[in-house]
């Protein structure tokens, strides 16, 4: 398919703008643009067809089952898309005076209150723009908290699990902390004996996902919390997997002090091909003074923005956060109310059912009941038939499914991380399990068809190594290089895809 730039015809145009009858303004010549940007020149119908064609070469939840582990790809209600377009939300400026934003502030305050209840903590900031920014904000809070206590120089280390999302160690570096990594034990829990060796008075805190990226609830969570609290350190809950436990177990009750919540996962903001998201953080009382400004607070029947927080870390994003995400997630929470518990129960039921259907056909490294997701391994298929997790993923496309997350978590070789979510019907799970079992059968009987998959997508396997080497990251117009010789070996990185 041609690029929109390759469809461009000089002199053609899409939209017209109002042209007020006013004299032109002067731009000093040294600041004026010398040659125009080569934006596409197309009429509106062709633009729409271009993007429609692109959409047909893509796959979303609306297209089919999307069990991308740790990404919580659940249904995105269309009513939320309508609500976010209400002029009172869509056309509202962040610097409007307080009496002109009462509805927006009330929505944000109500969302904060719901997140506080769901997390079992005390105060909330909606400002972080995504889960990973919530992580970084949480670590900034830890730094501010310890500096306020005069322990800032001493506490220089954060502990993360070897099953952690890559964002956790990356956030630790960005926050200026040292990293200590704790192992996973034979049951898939944090190795508590190893943890005791790592934690001392230099420890600032722990970052943990619970249930973990293995889809397992840590059975020693109380003991883990005590290890950190006993040395005065803090616990950070990576809320990526909160969809498993809403109304069933709260991070605050588990002993965590800071939580981020991925609004785009648990509370169904459409993922948009990569974003937007939302990563609000919720904290225990002692951390509230350090939250980002402004805070959304209620006084009597009025809502206001409170900038008077002298101990605040400052701002991690512009204004008050990604408001449209708040509208959708608030609507999602209101559509369930206390039944959010049932939402999580069904997410866990769906995952365990799918696990039961698949545990014979694939390796199951930790044979326990799972929470909202589970991790299988294609280790035996690889050893016996040369079929890797990548091959299974590509072949699933031919059966009409989006592949699961693969090669993550790192502690499981040839990992297939599967998260069905609660919005899938039993028949979908049955069909997916049938496809997975069929692929395991093909691996033995007809491995070539699996290795050459996918057969029915707009492209075949792509050469990722060549892409990285050449680094063609923009269209070059008349100088665009020609890549069009086929690649004999589809060199793909056997690296994490998803989560």
């Amino acid at each position: 398919m041609r690029l929109i730039f390759e469809k461009s015809q000089s002199g053609r145009r899409g939209g017209e703008l109002p042209k007020p009858d006013l004299p032109a303004a002067d731009v000093p010549v040294e600041l004026r643009r010398a040659s125009p940007p080569r934006l596409p020149e197309l009429a509106e119908p062709e633009i729409l067809r271009h993007f429609t064609e692109l959409s047909t070469r893509n796959f979303g939840i609306d297209t089919g089952f999307y069990p991308l582990g740790s990404c919580t790809m659940k249904y995105n209600p269309r009513v939320n898309e309508r609500l976010v377009m209400l002029p009172g939300f869509r056309d509202l400026h962040p610097y409007q005076e307080e009496d002109g934003i009462q509805g927006a502030l009330e929505l944000m305050w109500r969302l904060q209150e719901a997140l506080i209840e769901l997390s079992g903590l005390h105060a909330c900031s909606l400002q972080p723009a995504a889960g990973s920014q919530g992580e970084l904000t949480g670590l900034m809070l830890m730094r501010a908290y310890f500096e306020d206590r005069g322990e800032g120089d001493r506490r220089d280390t954060i502990v993360t699990a070897d099953t952690a999302h890559g964002t956790n160690p990356a956030s630790v570096t960005m926050a200026g902390y040292k990293l200590a990594k704790v192992q996973t034990d034979a049951r898939g829990n944090v190795d508590v004996a190893h943890l005791r060796e790592l934690v001392d008075e230099r420890t600032a805190g722990l970052m943990l996902t619970n249930p973990s990226t293995l889809g397992l609830f840590d059975e020693h969570i109380e003991e883990i919390a005590a290890i950190f609290h006993d040395v005065g350190a803090l616990l950070y809950y990576d809320g990526a997997n909160l969809n498993a436990v809403c109304g069933l177990s709260r991070p605050g009750d588990m002993g965590f002090d800071i939580v981020h919540i991925n609004l785009h996962k648990t509370f169904s903001q459409p993922h948009g091909g990569g974003g937007p998201g939302g990563g609000p953080i919720v904290v225990r009382e002692k951390l509230e003074p350090f939250l980002p400004v402004p805070a959304v607070v209620k006084g009597g029947e009025r809502f206001r923005l409170d900038f008077d927080r002298p101990k605040s870390i400052g701002k991690v994003r512009g204004y008050t956060g990604p408001f449209g995400v708040f509208v959708r997630s608030y609507a999602y929470i209101r559509s369930y109310g206390p039944r959010l518990r049932e939402m999580s129960e069904v997410a866990v039921l769906n995952a365990n059912y799918l696990l039961a259907l698949l545990k014979e056909a694939y390796d199951l490294p930790y044979d326990r009941l799972c929470m909202h997701e589970f991790v299988l391994s294609a280790r035996t298929l690889k050893r016996e038939h040369g079929i890797s997790a990548t091959d299974v993923a590509k072949r699933l496309m031919d059966y009409g499914f989006h592949p699961p997350t693969i090669y993550f978590p790192l502690v499981v070789p040839e990992a297939l991380m599967i998260e069905p979510t609660e919005t899938e019907a039993k028949e979908t799970l049955d069909a997916f399990a049938e496809a997975m079992r069929a692929i395991a059968g093909e691996a033995a009987e007809n491995p070539d068809v699996v290795k050459a998959a996918p057969h029915g997508r707009p492209v075949k396997r792509l050469d990722e190594v060549r892409a990285a080497k050449r680094a063609i990251v923009r269209y070059g117009f008349e100088d665009h290089p020609d890549l069009a010789e086929p690649t004999a070996e589809p060199r793909q990185l056997e690296a994490q895809k998803g989560a």
Partner: protein, 444 residues
């Protein structure tokens, strides 16, 4: 209420297949003391109609620009979003997909990002753009991180005429990055290249905004040269909508170009979600944060697109990654691409010229009515500062009572400007709207 598919019979069959007798049993690994044993204290569930009514009531309590004639800008602007943007964004295959980890399933989003990267590079004169950052503030922090590692220096210079929101976010990130932030004051609305040169000694980068927060055109080529003299990376924070009229930062020597993308394709939406863009020269490509899409071929020799240079990223490099960013703002960046494609080069230039012409008209009318421009000798783009003769806060209140919001009160961020507002004029304001502004301010 809710979006669950299972029937009672489904549940029973599924529990039997799992080999447990109840849903409760699925949670047996959760220690008893950390189980939540009461009902969530949340408002009862709402059906779709009741939910709509509730949110409509909340929305009705906001003074949006359909109800108040608004001259608010200061970083978020009321530009026209064409209908085609809404139509493309509601394509479910794009809206409800996630990061294109599996390229064979995601050629649509991947190609769109490649086209977006191309458009950003064309506008900014840079070699490489990422697939988006969170907003116009966080990309500034990202640029500091790139600059620190590229230069080994730990000081960052930001001009005072850069959006205060950007400066605040950079300062929040600074301790973790181990950066010292130095601000250079504005002189009558713009930045002095000589002062900037002195401040830039030993700096990793210099961030300035063009047009700056006051709407004034900085001597951008001179500022970039001043930074380069000190071997600091010049970073321009720019408005995409200005780049049909104003020179591309790459042409006047910047190493990176960043900014808030909202002006191109996004509604104001109470400040988000929007997208930040970050583009750079090839020198910095392997230090860039975030997703980047590259071109390659498949086993049949067909052109295709993949996420590339992933060894920069957190999921591969973990603590050695160039950033922790994962979820970004792809959908909003796609909106930008659609809007920019709809405008084309001619439309983008006309849009910039229209904003400037309307701005000049507004300035002329206000001066004629007896108001004083704060920075009278500066050229401005779509925004300018004006003195109201008394507390801006009071005047804003009086004007709003007449259904007009005259703009952002600058005293909130700048000393000595308590009587000034920043007036933004986009193509959505007509000369008659501006006449109304002047009339209301004259009477206020």
């Amino acid at each position: 209420m809710g979006y669950l598919s299972l029937t009672q019979r489904d549940r029973e069959e599924m529990l039997a297949a799992i080999g447990v007798s109840s849903v409760e049993e699925l949670f047996r690994d959760i220690p008893a003391r950390v189980r939540f044993d009461r009902e969530l204290a949340l408002d009862p569930p709402l059906g779709e109609q009741e939910l709509s009514r509730h949110l409509e009531e909340l929305a009705a309590r906001n003074a949006d620009t359909s109800r108040e004639l608004s001259f608010l800008g200061a970083g978020i602007y009321d530009h026209y979003v064409p209908a085609i943007v809404d139509a493309v964004l509601q394509r479910g295959e794009l809206l409800t997909a996630y990061t294109p980890y599996q390229p064979e399933m995601s050629q649509g989003v991947l190609q769109a990002i490649f086209e977006y990267q191309t458009a950003i590079c064309e506008l900014t004169g840079m070699d490489v753009s990422n697939a988006s950052g969170y907003d116009g503030t966080t990309v500034a922090a990202d640029a500091c991180f790139v600059a620190k590692h590229a230069t080994g220096r730990s000081k960052v210079v930001v001009t005072e005429a850069t959006n205060p929101q950007v400066r605040q976010v950079v300062k929040t990130y600074a301790p973790g990055f181990g950066l010292e932030i130095v601000e250079v004051p504005h002189r009558n609305g713009t930045t002095s290249p000589d002062e900037l040169r002195r401040a830039a000694a030993d700096a990793a980068c210099v961030i300035f905004q063009q047009p700056n927060f006051f709407g004034c055109l900085e001597p951008a080529p001179d500022l970039a040269a001043a930074a380069a003299d000190a071997e600091a990376i010049p970073v321009a924070h720019v408005d995409l909508v200005s780049l049909g009229v104003l020179e591309a930062p790459g042409v006047y020597g910047c190493g990176m170009a960043i900014g808030e993308g909202q002006s191109a394709g996004n509604y104001q939406s109470f400040a988000g979600p929007h997208y930040g863009f970050l583009a750079a020269r090839n020198d910095y490509i392997r230090r860039m944060p975030g997703r980047i899409v590259g071109e390659t071929v498949d086993t049949a020799g067909e052109r295709g697109y993949v996420l590339t240079l992933q060894t920069r990223e957190q999921h591969i490099r973990r603590e050695k990654a160039t950033s922790n960013i994962t979820t970004n703002q792809t959908l909003l960046a796609l909106a930008g691409l659609v809007h920019l494609s709809w405008l084309g080069p001619e439309g983008l230039r006309e849009l910039g010229e229209t904003c400037m012409a309307l701005g000049e008209y507004a300035k002329r009318r206000l001066v004629d009515a007896g108001f004083e421009l704060v920075f009278a000798e500066r050229t401005t783009f779509k925004e300018f500062a004006i003195r109201l003769g008394r507390s801006a806060k009071e005047v804003v209140g009086a004007a709003r009572a007449q259904g007009v919001h005259p703009g952002y009160a600058l005293g909130r961020d700048y000393e000595g400007l308590d009587d000034a507002v920043l007036v933004a004029v986009t193509e959505r304001r007509s000369p008659a709207d501006i006449d109304r502004l002047v009339e209301v301010l004259a009477a206020a």
